[in-house]
Symmetry: D2
Subunit: 88 residues, 4 copies
């Protein structure tokens, strides 16, 4: 997860900076629609970060867990992640 | 997948009937918001049917594929499904 | 809404046909991931149909309602549609 | 927007704190699924904040814009927000 970790932390810093920009917009009473465009962009950035974390999970924990006998727990977690991803 | 299959086909019939109801609403020029509430309900019903198909996939094809050496293909498919589920 | 109505009904027929194709796939025990790709495509088609219905609503009922004094009802409906669209 | 503004800024601070907690989890190599549960919770918190901003927009800018003749611009923006909300 090392290479991904650096990338994920870099994305997290970007998201932080983006949120600070949004705070400024709200404090300065910027137009609501412009603020919403930025919050959507932040959600997209978080989704992209999530995809990295999930890919790492699928590449490591899932095969290891299935091969070492904790199949049911792994599958339940994958269903949960799937439902969370789709806002279900 | 047998028991699920019957349940999934039953849900598909329900969705079919629901769509016919929506067709009638549109033909009768019913209020847009009422129509949209019904199309959202249909999408929810499809999502629930999808969850059954996915659960079946996770319980059978995923462990079998991982144990029989087609790990990469299985993982790529799971990433695709995850992105599709989240409209990404 | 007339021109849209014809287009919306045409899309609804397309969705119907698509669902029949999915029914066949399930009956024939096709691969789960292929089935899920099709159900996602159907949801996308429904979303596109919804956008037409919503655009029609925004162009007609919303301005008429706001100008004729039923502002609160119109706004509450828009919030509901917004939440439904985002699976909230 | 004053009362909402305070509430929105408070929610933004909560989201900030939550992201810092996620950074710590990543740095400490916590379990991927636990990290993903937290990033989903952050997205939910952002969605709730968005709903406040949108409600404020619907209550003020939309009726004012429609009554003062900038109907088309307002409607186009609402379609955009709707599509962004549904990840379309």
């Amino acid at each position: 997860m090392q290479a991904d970790k650096t990338d994920i932390l870099k994305r997290l810093n970007y998201i932080d900076g983006h949120l600070n920009g949004i705070r400024k917009m709200i404090e300065d009473d910027k137009y609501c629609v412009d603020i919403l465009r930025q919050t959507y962009a932040v959600r997209k950035a978080i989704e992209k970060m999530e995809a990295l974390v999930l890919e790492n999970h699928l590449q490591t924990c899932v095969p290891e867990g299935i091969k070492s006998g904790s199949e049911q727990a792994i599958i339940e977690e994958l269903m949960q992640l799937y439902n969370l991803a789709g806002n279900r």
